[in-house]
Symmetry: C2
Subunit: 406 residues, 2 copies
């Protein structure tokens, strides 16, 4: 949107097919709440826990070779290439790099897209460690309303790792894909008078049919996360936005409230509805990197983070054919790279990333609005770039250590 009020050709408004089109989407990703109903994820009322800074000008000049390319690219050039709206790098617990562009600034919030799933997965692991959720329990035993759906005889773990077998298509390119019925059910807009379908996420989930045996193949389908949202809401007695506030946003001393989009009956969109500040996802990254500690305080049991880091079933993952993540796995809604650094990540369409590299003691948060939804479009100029920055930062640390020993 440009100008105030914006001229007709610059307006961004409902329906969704308009506001998520490129280039309008570059504005939309920072302004989701201005287009849709949302629920607050409260940070509480206390002073935020400050991040400490040790900015490193050298990062811009780090070079890497994009996957499949012949010539190197500079880090700073990669940012525009990937339509980066905000990027934060934390190393040894300090912010070493922070940039905003596009629609984002330090008091703004950006759509996290499917990174939301990883936060829901983290909450689920926390409830497992609190013995409120048994990962081996069947979904039907937790949510009787899902008994006759595909999810009924799946275990909570199969839902968490997306190894359920569902007769459900999430191919956005196919106008007959089930995802469109799902979107229609989930829309917070009033339903058309002749609409007879399900109303809201939960209503829809009860209609999903099975496609075989669970537990064999990883299949990335957002409905799993909404089932997981329903599961953790049931065992905790709180909707996922409230749970995110109580379990993460308040204890981590976040500096901004976050928010989640909701369906027509107020259910937050566990599969992708979060918008949050860049630094606050940085705080979350530090919590994971430090095995559940933040600022010398234990907020989450180390076993929770371990369960995620260890990764999921590599064979199940290999069958899904993610070319930019060879040898990877998916565990509790996190993408585990199984690379030399033991990196794992939350990822969302159009380039959203929370990338954790335990070896380099580094966290990268990136918000972006890449015209292509699939991350395979930006991975070639992202994943090698993250690795190169990790190596650069490790080298810097070693150099400083060597100098202080001289």
């Amino acid at each position: 949107m440009q100008g105030f009020p914006p001229p007709v050709d610059k307006r961004i408004q409902q329906p969704e097919s308009d506001f998520f089109s490129f280039p309008k989407m570059r504005w939309t990703v920072c302004h989701i709440r201005e287009l849709m109903p949302t629920k607050q994820v409260s940070r509480g009322l206390t002073a935020p826990v400050p991040l400490s800074y040790a900015l490193d000008d050298g990062i811009d000049a780090v070079t890497f070779t994009p996957t499949g390319a012949n010539s190197p690219m500079r880090w700073d050039d990669s940012l525009a290439h990937n339509y980066t709206d905000g990027i934060l790098i934390l190393h040894n617990g300090q912010v070493v790099y922070e940039e905003y562009s596009g629609c984002l600034n330090e008091t703004g919030k950006h759509a996290a897209m499917s990174m939301t799933k990883s936060l829901i997965g983290l909450l689920a692991e926390m409830l497992v460690s609190d013995q409120l959720l048994d990962p081996d329990a069947s979904v039907a035993s937790i949510i009787p309303a899902l008994k006759d759906s595909a999810f009924g005889n799946a275990s909570a773990r199969e839902v968490m790792d997306m190894t359920t077998s569902l007769n459900y298509s999430e191919d956005y390119a196919d106008p007959n894909a089930d995802i469109w019925q799902y979107s229609k059910a989930a829309s917070p807009l009033p339903k058309a008078r002749d609409y007879r379908g399900p109303n809201g996420y939960f209503d829809y989930l009860t209609t999903v049919k099975s496609d075989g045996k669970h537990g064999k193949v990883f299949a990335y389908k957002t409905v799993n996360t909404d089932v997981l949202g329903w599961i953790i809401s049931t065992v905790s007695g709180q909707d996922v936005a409230s749970l995110l506030s109580e379990r993460l946003w308040r204890p981590l001393g976040m500096e901004q409230d976050a928010y989640m989009t909701v369906d027509g009956i107020g259910t937050p969109f566990a599969g992708g509805g979060l918008s949050a500040g860049l630094r606050d996802l940085g705080r979350l990254g530090l919590l994971l990197l430090n095995d559940g500690m933040l600022q010398q305080k234990r907020l989450v049991k180390a076993s929770v983070i371990d369960s995620i880091r260890q990764g999921g079933d590599k064979n199940a993952f290999a069958q899904a054919g993610y070319k930019s993540l060879p040898g990877g796995s998916y565990r509790s809604m996190w993408w585990v790279l199984h690379n030399a650094h033991g990196a794992y990540a939350a990822r969302g369409v159009h380039g959203q990333t929370l990338y954790i590299d335990p070896t380099a003691n580094m966290v990268i948060v990136r918000f972006a609005s890449h015209p292509t939804a699939k991350n395979s479009a930006n991975d070639p100029t992202s994943l090698p770039a993250y690795q190169a920055v990790a190596e650069y930062l490790m080298q810097q640390s070693m150099q400083r250590a060597a100098e202080s020993n001289e």
Copy 2:
């Protein structure tokens, strides 16, 4: 909403006629953002400025006689009587009373309804004192698009004081009243395919026709505030939500972000779209009570507050026939009581109040969800109650002063 997910008969959702019906409205007033698109009013990222506390248990037992009644009522009984969701009393700069009930809690935000207007009026007065806005300028000279509307030849001051003469009915009881066309234009929901009317607040405002000479009679019509919102956005270059953030929410050290509802093209609803935390309106009340100072810092010029406190044209006001506010006036979107204490107030339907009593050095903020929209329904058990509490607090101060002199 009760239960998770709520059963069908407990659901609260679009359309507006459903969610603002009683008793559903008692939930809605704390959850506007979950039903409609909204724009953030950022508090910034710093630590909130704390309020200091000196709670006074004696207030509950204060009695008063409701207007027109024969028997007295206790203060604490008046709260349930008025469907109070949150009430805060500040005296001599400290919180002496704070209660939450209904849908509200300390991290919640409540619809301010038409109290929003008073904040817009305050911003306008601030821009006047900054010489960015000339109150004598015609609206057409500031917003050429309004030249042919009723507002074109009105002065900014006439808009601020609602003494414009408009051929426009805001009688919610009349299904043919203009307010319904306005609501349709302003709805953020996608327009019906055959809709040919204006889109958004501003589009609609250009269509309002004149009903005679401006400046003679006070007529409470929300469209004035939306014109004023457009005026202050034009002279400041910022939409009103951003302006509220920059001029009030950040400098006052508010503890919560607030938000405003928006129309389909993103224009915040100046006439009534704000939702905010109880204590944050308390901070705003202190700023007014202390002539523009907060915590020993001057944030607003004293002349700004003076301009509001002095009141508007009493004759113009008398002709509007507000029985519960005899001898009052309306100035810069504030209700000035012209009572012995020099009290003035921001007021919104269903019982919203920010009441400032300079003589008693007292601020009262009340959020409520009274089934009756018009404040004439709750004024009889509110205005005398505020006066009684003011007198009680003054007496307490005198007693303490006397004791310390003994």
